[in-house]
Amino acid sequence: MKEIRVNQNIRLESGFQEYLIESDRKLDLSITCDTNCQALFRIRGAKSLRIRGYAADGCEATLLFWNECNAPLECDESYEVGEDAHLIAAYGECGGAAVDRSIYFALRRPNAHGEILSATLASSNINYRMNMVNFAPHTLGEMRNFAVVMKQGRLMIDAIGSIVNGAKQSKNHQTSRALSFEDGQHSTILPELLIDENDVEASHAMSIGRVDDEQLYYLMSRGLTLPQVTALISSGYLMPVADVIEKEEVRSVLREELERKLSAL
C-alpha cells in the first residue's frame, strides 16, 4: 500500500494498486489513468481533498474511494474522460463521520463512458453534489447511489445529468435509493436532467423509504433480531460497491470490513 501524505501527481499503473491517504492537511491529488487499471484509495484522514482525474483515450480505469475517516471530510473532485475510455469512480462511505463531496464528470470525447457509484451508510451529515456532463457524441454517463440512512443521519444527494448541445446519441442515466429502518433520519435526493440535444437517452429514478414492515416480519420470523435484519438488508444494499474491484481478495477484505461495521450497528 502506497501512502499519500502530501500533494501528489499519481500515474496509475496497469493492474491493481492500493493507496492510503492520511494527513491532517488539505491535499491536492492529480490522478492520471492511461492504461487498464484499478485503484483502491483508503482515506483515513485529510482536512480536505481536491482531486483532479483524467482517463486517457481507450483506457479502462476504476477508482474506489473507501472512506475510513473518523473526522468530517470535504472533497472536491473533477474527472475528464477521453475517447473510448471508461472511468468508474466508486465511493464506500461507511466511516460514520460527516462527508461533503462534490463530483464533476466531463465526458469530453466521443464514446467516453463515466460512472459514479456510491454506497453510503449515513449516520451523520452526508452531502453529495454530482454532475455528469456529456460533452461529446455517443457518450454514456451513469450515476448509481445507494444509501442506508440511520437514526440521526442526514443525507442529501443532488445529482445532475447534463447533455450539452451537439452530444448526439449520448446517454445519461441516474438512480438514487435511500433506505431507512427507523424514524429520526432525514433524506433528500434531487435528481435533475439538463438536456440540450435531441436524439439522446436520459433517465432518472429515485426512491426514499423505510423497509417494509412485512419484509422485516418475514426476516425476523426466521430468528433474526431487528439489528441483524438491519445489517443483512444494509449489506445487500451497500456491498455491491466492493464488486467494482476485480481482485477477489481485495473484495472480500472490503466486504468483511463493511460487515463488521454493519454488525456493530
Partner: protein, 276 residues
C-alpha cells in the same frame, strides 16, 4: 416433549375480532390439519402464534415447551422452535438466499456454521426440493414463481429444523409434481425427528400426502368440529354446509370483512362547479 398449548385465544386485526376463544394442543410429532372456509381465522391463528405485529391477542394464552410465547418477540419465537411457511412469502431484493439462511442458522448456534457445512446442507436441501442450482445466489424470493416461493419456504424449514412448523396454504401455487416433492421433503423431516405440524390447506390431496392425525374446523373464529383424517375427506366431498347445519354455526361473512369504501376526498373542480 415440546407441546404447543393454546387456550381461549382471542385475536383482533385492525380492531375486528377474528379469533373468539380458540383452544388447541399440539404434542410433539403430531400433525394437525386446520380447515374452514376462507376468512374464518385459519391464517390469523398461525400469524398470531408466530407473532405478526398486526395480530393483537386480547385474551388467552399460548405456550410452547412451557414458555410463554406471547411474551416473546417474533425472532425469539423462531429461535424457540416455531416456524411459519407463509402463504405469501416476501421478496427481499439485495439479500441472497445463502446469506439469509446462513445468518438464520447462525442465530441458533453457539458458533457460526462452518462455510463448507453450510454449503453441503444448502446443496442437499436444494436438491431435495428440486430447486434450481443457483438458488443460493439469487435474492430471497425475488422474481420467483409462486411455486418456487412455496418450495423455498420448505428449503428454509429443512435448514432451520423447527420443532413445530405451520404451513399456511403451502400447496397453493404448487403443481401436482411439486406437491409431491414438497410433501416428500416434509415427510422425510418427520422421519428424522419428531416434527410437529399445523397444516392449513383446502385440499384433501395435500392431506393424503401429509397424513394428519387430527383435523380441526375453524368457523367464525372458533374450532367447531374436530376429528381425524376422515373429517378432511368428508369436507372434501361434501363441503362445509353440513357443519353449518349440524353445529348451528355460520361462517364469518366475506362482505362483513370488507371495509366500507373510504373517500379520498372530493374533486376540487367538481366542488368549484357546484359553487362550494
Amino acid at each position: 416433549m415440546k407441546r404447543l398449548v393454546i387456550e381461549n385465544l382471542h385475536v383482533t386485526v385492525e380492531g375486528k375480532e377474528i379469533l373468539k376463544g380458540v383452544d388447541l394442543t399440539v404434542n410433539s410429532g403430531e400433525v394437525h390439519a386446520l380447515m374452514g372456509p376462507n376468512g374464518n381465522g385459519k391464517s390469523t391463528l398461525l400469524a398470531a402464534i408466530m407473532g405478526h405485529p398486526k395480530y393483537i391477542v386480547t385474551e388467552g394464552s399460548i405456550t410452547f415447551d412451557g414458555q410463554d410465547v406471547l411474551a416473546m418477540p417474533v425472532d425469539a419465537r423462531s429461535r424457540a422452535g416455531l416456524f411459519l411457511a407463509m402463504q405469501y412469502p416476501q421478496e427481499i431484493p439485495g439479500v441472497t438466499n445463502s446469506d439469509f439462511m446462513r445468518a438464520a442458522m447462525n442465530v441458533r448456534r453457539e458458533s457460526p456454521v462452518p462455510l463448507f457445512t453450510f454449503i453441503k446442507a444448502m446443496e442437499k436441501t436444494i436438491k431435495d426440493l428440486e430447486m434450481k442450482e443457483d438458488l443460493a445466489h439469487r435474492f430471497l424470493n425475488e422474481g420467483f414463481s409462486g411455486g418456487e416461493k412455496k418450495r423455498n419456504e420448505i428449503v428454509q424449514m429443512e435448514l432451520l429444523k423447527p420443532d413445530l412448523a405451520m404451513l399456511d396454504e403451502l400447496d397453493s401455487g404448487l403443481d401436482v409434481d411439486a406437491l409431491h416433492v414438497v410433501a416428500n421433503a416434509i415427510n422425510n423431516m418427520r422421519k428424522e425427528y419428531p416434527l410437529s405440524l399445523i397444516v392449513v390447506s383446502h385440499y384433501e390431496r395435500f392431506y393424503e400426502l401429509i397424513e394428519p392425525q387430527f383435523v380441526h374446523v375453524l368457523v367464525d373464529g372458533n374450532i367447531v368440529v374436530e376429528g381425524d383424517a376422515a373429517l378432511a375427506k368428508r369436507i372434501d366431498e361434501e363441503g362445509y354446509d353440513w357443519i353449518y347445519r349440524d353445529y348451528g354455526v355460520q361462517p364469518a361473512s366475506e362482505a362483513e370483512r370488507r371495509k366500507a369504501p373510504v373517500s379520498l376526498g372530493s374533486c376540487a373542480v367538481a366542488q368549484k362547479a357546484q359553487g362550494k
